[in-house]
C-alpha cells in the first residue's frame, strides 16, 4: 500500500504544480537567481559586458569614493526623512480629519488620492512647471509686487532635493491617508465612547490610545514608504534629470546610468547591491516581527 502511494507524492496536485510554474520560475530564476547574479557580478570588473574577472571589493571602494554616489546617498537620506515624516504626519492628520464623520468625505478623499493615480513622470513634469522660476510660483509672487521673492528649488543645488520632495509628497500622501483611514476605521467605536466618558480630550485619545492601537498599520505603512523611497527614480528624471549638476542624483539613477550609459556594469552592480542592502536592513527586522512572531504566538 505504502509503496504504491509513494510515487503519487510527486504527482499529487500535479495540475496545481504545473499551474504554479510561472510563479516558481519567477521566484527562483528572477528573484533569487537575478539577485544572486547581480551580487556576484558586483565583485567583477565588468565594463561593457558582464565578465567574471573577480576584483574583490574594488567596485565598492570606487563607489564610495565617487562624489556622485555620495551625493546620491545624501539626497536619498534627506528625501527619505522628509517623505517618512511628512507623509506619516500629514497622512494621519488628514485621515483623522476625514474620520470625524464629515460630509463630502468621499469627495475629499477622491481629491486627496487622485495624484496617486498619476505617474511620477506626470507628477514631476507638473511640478517642474509650477516651480519654474520664470513662469511659475516665483514669477507670480514677484508680479504681485514682492520683487525680491525667490522660490526656485529645482534650480538651486542646495535645496533641489526639497523641491523634489514637494512633488513626491503631493503624489504619495493620499495613499498614506487612505491606509491610515482604514486603520482608524478598524478602531473599535467603544474605545472612543470610553475615552469620552472619561473626559479625555480628543488629541490625547489619538496620541495615547488610538495611535498605539494602530501600531500594525503604522509598521506596514512605514515599510511601504521605505520601499518606495529606495526606488525613487522617475520623479528625479522628470523633474531635474539629476541636476543642476549632480545636485539631485539618487542611487537608482546612478545604477541606471552606469549600467546603460557609462558602460560600467561593475559599478552599476555594486551600486544596486548597496540598494539591496539598505532594503534588507529595513525589511528583515520587519519580516521577523510580522511573520516570525505570528508563527510562534
Amino acid at each position: 500500500m505504502s509503496k504504491s502511494e509513494r510515487p503519487n507524492q510527486l504527482f499529487r496536485n500535479l495540475n496545481a504544480k504545473v499551474a504554479s510554474i510561472p510563479m516558481i520560475l519567477t521566484a527562483l530564476v528572477v528573484f533569487v537567481g537575478g539577485t544572486a547574479w547581480t551580487v556576484l557580478y558586483s565583485f567583477t570588473n565588468s565594463k561593457l559586458l558582464p565578465r567574471l574577472n573577480f576584483v574583490g571589493i574594488d567596485q565598492y571602494y570606487r563607489l564610495w569614493a565617487t562624489p556622485r554616489w555620495l551625493v546620491s546617498i545624501e539626497n536619498l537620506l534627506i528625501y527619505g526623512v522628509i517623505s517618512l515624516v511628512f507623509s506619516l504626519v500629514v497622512g494621519f492628520i488628514l485621515a483623522a480629519l476625514l474620520d470625524q464623520k464629515i460630509r463630502f468625505e468621499d469627495t475629499f478623499r477622491t481629491i486627496f488620492l487622485y495624484p496617486f493615480a498619476l505617474s511620477f513622470i506626470v507628477t514631476g513634469l507638473v511640478w517642474q512647471w509650477l516651480l519654474n522660476p520664470d513662469f511659475g510660483i516665483q514669477r507670480v509672487v514677484r508680479d504681485l509686487g514682492w520683487t525680491s521673492f525667490s522660490f526656485d528649488p529645482l534650480y538651486n543645488s542646495s535645496i533641489v532635493i526639497y523641491g523634489i520632495s514637494i512633488a513626491a509628497l503631493w503624489q504619495g500622501t493620499g495613499l498614506i491617508m487612505c491606509l491610515m483611514l482604514a486603520g482608524l476605521r478598524g478602531i473599535d467605536e467603544d474605545i472612543w465612547k470610553a475615552a469620552r466618558v472619561d473626559g479625555i480630550p480628543m488629541w490625547k485619545t489619538y496620541l495615547f490610545i488610538v495611535i498605539p492601537m494602530m501600531r500594525p498599520v503604522f509598521i506596514t505603512t512605514l515599510v511601504i514608504i521605505a520601499a518606495g523611497i529606495v526606488k525613487v527614480y522617475d520623479l528625479v528624471v522628470a523633474q531635474t534629470s539629476g541636476g543642476p549638476g549632480i545636485a539631485s542624483e539618487v542611487p537608482a539613477k546612478y545604477v541606471y546610468d552606469y549600467m546603460f550609459f557609462a558602460q560600467n556594469l561593475g559599478q552599476g552592480f555594486a551600486a544596486s547591491t548597496m540598494m539591496l542592502l539598505s532594503v534588507v536592513i529595513v525589511i528583515v527586522p520587519w519580516a521577523y516581527l510580522e511573520f516570525g512572531g505570528k508563527k510562534r504566538g
Binding site: N15, A16, K17, A19, S20, P22, M23, I24, T26, L28, V29, V30, F31, V32, G34, T35, W37, T38, P50, L97, Q100, K101, I102, D106, F108, L113, A117, L118, S119, F120, I121, V122, L125, V126, W129, N132, R139, V140, W170, G174, L175, L179, E189, K193, R196, V217, T220, V223, I224, A227, V237, S241, A252, Y256, M259, A271, S272, M275, V279, I283
Partner: protein, 309 residues
C-alpha cells in the same frame, strides 16, 4: 449610536444657529466645523492646484503664457497645443507626437494586464486551495522579492530576454510586467480565495471537479470584484511605469511615459510649455479616468494590496 453621541456633543457646545427639527440636529457653524472644513478645503485646493494649472496652461497660446500668470484662466482658449502634443510633438528625429507612445502603451498595457492577472489568479488559487509541498516557500520568496529594488534584477533580465531574442520588443516588456506584477497580485488573489468558504471547494471536489474545473466554473465567476480590483491596480501601474519602459524597449516602442519625458525634457528647440502640459495631461488621462470611474474599488485595491500585506 455615533450620531447620537455627536448630537449630544453638539448640543453641549451650543451656538447661535440651531435647527428646531430635522434628521441632523447639528450646528453648521460651530468652531469645530469651521476649523475642520476650512482645513480640508485648503488642503483640497492645494491638491487640485497642479491639475488646474496643467489644464489652464494647455489651453493658452505661448504669448499669453509668457506675459501672464500661470494661475489665471486663459483669455483665448485654444486647443492647438493638444493637437500638436498628440500628433506633431518631436522626440529626437520623430515628429509624430504622443500618439505613437499612446498606442505603444495600449499595446503594452492590455496584454500585460491580461497575462499578469491570469497567472496570478491561478497562482493565488493554487496557493489557497491546492497547497502542495514547498508552495509556501515560493510564495514567501515572491513576496520578499516584491521589496527587492528593481535595479538589482534589471540586468539579469536584460540578459535573459536577449538570449530568448525578445529584448527591446513589446513582448519582452509584457513578460517583465507580468513578472513584477506577480507578487502583489498573487497575494491579492490568495487572500481572496482563502476567504471563500471551504465547503464550496469540498462540494465541488466531491462532485468530481478538478483543478481547472473548479477554477473556471466556481472560483472565477465568484470572484469578479477582485478581478476588477486587480485590473485597476495593473492598468494604472503598468500605464504609469517608466523604468521598465526605458530599459526594455527601443525608441520606436517607447511607452507613453518615456516618450512624454523625452518630449518635455528635450534640450533642442524652443520650449512650448502649453504643448508640454497638454502632453502631460494626455499621459495622465488614462489612469485618471480609471481612478475617477472606479472610485471606491481603487481604494479597495490599495487597501487589499497594502494593509493585508
Amino acid at each position: 449610536m455615533a450620531d447620537v453621541s455627536l448630537a449630544a456633543e453638539a448640543a453641549a457646545v451650543r451656538s447661535a444657529a440651531s435647527g428646531p427639527s430635522g434628521p441632523r440636529p447639528r450646528h453648521v457653524l460651530s468652531r469645530r466645523n469651521i476649523f475642520l472644513y476650512g482645513t480640508l478645503i485648503v488642503v483640497a485646493l492645494y491638491y487640485l492646484l497642479p491639475l488646474y494649472v496643467m489644464i489652464v496652461t494647455s489651453l493658452k497660446g505661448m504669448p499669453e503664457i509668457r506675459l501672464g500668470n500661470i494661475f489665471s484662466p486663459p483669455v483665448e482658449i485654444t486647443f492647438e497645443p493638444w493637437v500638436k502634443a498628440w500628433s506633431q510633438a518631436c522626440t529626437g528625429l520623430n515628429c509624430d507626437g504622443l500618439s505613437r507612445g499612446f498606442w505603444n502603451s495600449v499595446r503594452i498595457t492590455v496584454p500585460s494586464v491580461l497575462l499578469s492577472i491570469a497567472i496570478a489568479s491561478v497562482n493565488g488559487y493554487a496557493l489557497a486551495n491546492w497547497r502542495f509541498k514547498g508552495a509556501d516557500t515560493f510564495f514567501v520568496i515572491l513576496i520578499v522579492g516584491a521589496f527587492i529594488p528593481y535595479q538589482v534584477m534589471i540586468y539579469p533580465i536584460v540578459i535573459i530576454l536577449r538570449e530568448i531574442g525578445i529584448y527591446g520588443t513589446l513582448t519582452g516588456l509584457v513578460i517583465v510586467h507580468s513578472i513584477f506584477g506577480m507578487p502583489i497580485l498573487t497575494l491579492l488573489f490568495r487572500n481572496y480565495f482563502s476567504s471563500m468558504p471551504e465547503e464550496l471547494f469540498r462540494a465541488a471536489r466531491v462532485d468530481g471537479a478538478g483543478f481547472w474545473g473548479i477554477y473556471l466554473r466556481i472560483m472565477l465567476p465568484m470572484s469578479l470584484p477582485i478581478f476588477v480590483v486587480a485590473i485597476i491596480l495593473q492598468v494604472t501601474g503598468i500605464w504609469n511605469d517608466f523604468l521598465f519602459g526605458v530599459v526594455y524597449t527601443r525608441p520606436d516602442t517607447y511607452p507613453m511615459t518615456v516618450q512624454l519625458n523625452n518630449i518635455v525634457n528635450s534640450v533642442q528647440g524652443v520650449k512650448e510649455y502649453n504643448v508640454n502640459m497638454a502632453a502631460t495631461i494626455l499621459t495622465g488621462l488614462v489612469p485618471l479616468i480609471v481612478y475617477f470611474v472606479s472610485g471606491k474599488l481603487f481604494v479597495r485595491g490599495i487597501a487589499a494590496g497594502a494593509v493585508k500585506g
